[in-house]
């Protein structure tokens, strides 16, 4: 079932919310031990809420578009129930006094949050391996990573534990795990979804977005979480279109750009063929493909890892063991207490990024690194603005390879960073992009197609993905979990 179908069945009283939520909890109980998608499951709360939805439907109340549908949220989204740990030791026992806007919107629409999903610590990573709390495995091959940083949300949807989930995307953290796990993942335009209650990593890049198996479900979720929120000063006050209603836009006449810079050295041959196959399908159904140029793409990773780490070093200064989070015990000196709490509370990748960001912002290096990166960011934005003068969307691979093996890149941080080559530009430019399953490699692991759009162009991305899914069946294949588990 899709999320849309489950929601319809519950509204029409063909299925109870209680049964839908129980099925999700049962599936989690069956599979989470193997795949580690969830850090925490809120079984009692979810069952209680589901019964409340059923009672509301029985009374004839207006229950909302997601009434009774089980969903999952990433562990960096604040919830007033359970803990919000960002998969970090430093926040392992943190109970948020408020909940994220996106979580509130989901629950106001009737959805039932069944638990919090695993992630790279503070969303810093591309494989979910930097989580201090759990290991998540790829549903298609348990020896491979699910991608990251929203690997738990992607795996939960791929396994069918839930039909929809939220993640966050700072440099590809929704799109890359969506690609690795064979599901749809959408990174909205910066400002489209309020970041209120999203634990900050890099504030000028972070954005919350949905995971689902179909573009239609992603459209439904985005329509619920998008919109202005005065509690996030970067949330944009602009009407939210009817994303589901816009899915019918035909492919005929759609102008798709392809940039040679996204098909160069380092791109795996099978991934290239998968993406080219998807482009052929889109052309066959009326889309026109033309070349565009994004000449500064080669500098995107360098630019991203300076901007993101600089912002992170500032954002993570708040973890000092004073107001909340871990405090190293028995230290009399306050500076020593900060430094020891941070040493013991943060994992190696978080420390590495705080160090790099502090360096890029420090006296003597600021102009050469941080300021230079902000100027290159302007050039990357201009590349997209020019390209979108002539095309409606730009298509590319999401990642240069399919899911890599657990442990394969953990010893070489730079190699891990370089794998983000096709996803980071989108965040630097603030534009939306979607990852759509478009095939499998010879090992049976999923390949993703990335569609990038102009700012606030989510409608065309979702419609293109939906029209593609209408004529293909990659999204209908299920991971061989019985063999894995």
């Amino acid at each position: 079932m899709t999320l849309a179908a489950t929601a319809r069945a519950i509204r029409q009283r063909k299925q109870s919310a209680e049964a839908a939520v129980q099925a999700s909890l049962d599936a989690i109980a069956r599979w989470n031990g193997t795949f580690g998608a969830f850090l925490r499951v809120e079984a009692d709360r979810a069952a209680t809420r589901a019964r409340a939805v059923d009672a509301a439907i029985a009374r004839g109340d207006d229950v909302g578009p997601l009434a009774g549908v089980p969903v999952a949220v990433k562990d960096n989204l604040c919830t007033t129930f359970g803990t919000t740990a960002c998969a970090s030791r430093i926040l392992a026992d943190f109970h948020s006094p408020y909940s994220a806007h996106a979580v509130d919107r989901l629950e106001a629409a009737g959805a039932v949050v069944v638990g919090k999903t695993n992630m790279d610590e503070f969303a810093m990573g591309s494989s979910t391996e930097t989580s201090a709390l759990a290991t998540t495995r790829n549903p298609w091959d348990a020896e491979r990573v699910p991608g990251g940083s929203s690997g738990g949300s992607a795996a939960a949807v791929a396994l069918g534990l839930v039909d929809g989930a939220l993640g966050s995307d700072t440099g590809g953290s929704i799109r890359q795990p969506a690609s690795f796990c064979g599901v749809v993942g959408l990174k909205p335009t910066y400002g489209r979804v309020s970041r209120y209650g999203l634990v900050a990593f890099a504030s000028s890049l972070d954005q919350i977005g949905p995971f689902a198996r179909t573009a239609e479900d992603a459209a439904l979720l985005l329509g619920v979480i998008a919109g202005h929120d005065p509690r996030d000063s970067t949330s944009v006050d602009r009407p939210v279109p009817d994303y589901v209603g816009g899915l019918d836009r035909p492919l005929k006449g759609l102008r798709i750009g392809i940039a040679a810079e996204y098909f160069g050295e380092g791109l795996d041959d099978e991934v290239r063929k998968g993406v080219e196959g998807a482009l052929a399908v889109l052309q066959e159904h009326g889309a026109e493909v033309q070349e565009v140029h994004l000449p500064h793409t080669r500098y995107a990773i360098a630019c991203y890892y300076l901007v993101a780490t600089a912002e992170a070093s500032s954002n993570l200064a708040r973890y000092d063991g004073v107001h909340y989070g871990y405090r190293a015990p028995g230290i009399d000196d306050v500076i020593e207490m900060y430094s020891a709490s941070r040493r013991d509370g943060f994992g190696p990748e978080v420390k590495r990024r705080i160090m790099l960001g502090t360096y890029a912002l420090s006296s003597g290096y600021y102009d050469a690194f941080y300021l230079k990166a902000l100027k290159v960011r302007t050039l990357l934005r201009r590349d997209f603005e020019q390209a979108f003068q002539t095309v409606d969307v730009i298509a590319s691979p999401v990642t240069p390879t399919t899911a890599f093996r657990l442990g394969e890149k953990t010893g070489d941080p730079l190699a891990m960073y370089l794998a983000d080559v096709y996803t980071t530009s989108v965040n630097l430019a603030g534009i939306p992009a979607i990852s759509v399953p478009c095939g499998f490699d010879s090992a049976g692991t999923p390949i993703g197609l990335q569609l990038m759009g102009p700012a606030f162009g989510e409608e065309v991305l979702l419609a293109t993905a939906h029209q593609y899914q209408r004529v293909t069946d990659h999204h209908l294949r299920r991971p061989p979990v019985e063999a894995n588990g």
């Binding site: 000092d320 989070g325 502090t358 730079l414």
Partner: protein, 101 residues
């Protein structure tokens, strides 16, 4: 601009970052940050004369709201996560020493 990342620079950055690193971590970060900084240094090849920096993609500057009293979570909700508290205060190690107090 090429800068050599050596152990003394790493210790300096760790102090600025308020991270109490072990010697093994200093050695590890020296080699890893050298590789990463060597890579990001390629930005120096890009001509950015007359290019203004983008710190933020939105044309938004100051966002103001009406100065109205609104409910807040209250001290218990906020102090609930305190590593150490005393009454309605966060308890911390002494910040000022005897002489400067």
């Amino acid at each position: 601009m090429s800068t050599r990342i050596d152990e003394s620079l790493v210790r300096h950055i760790a102090t600025l970052s308020r991270l109490n690193l072990t010697d093994a971590e200093v050695a590890q970060f020296t080699s890893e940050l050298s590789a990463i900084v060597g890579y990001v240094d390629q930005l120096s090849q890009v001509n950015t004369d007359d290019v203004s920096p983008t710190a933020h993609v939105l044309p938004v500057h100051n966002v103001l709201r009406a100065d109205e009293v609104r409910p807040s979570p209250g001290p218990e909700a906020v102090l609930g996560n305190a590593p150490q508290r005393q009454d309605t205060f966060f308890r911390v190690p002494k910040v000022l020493d005897q002489d400067s107090a």
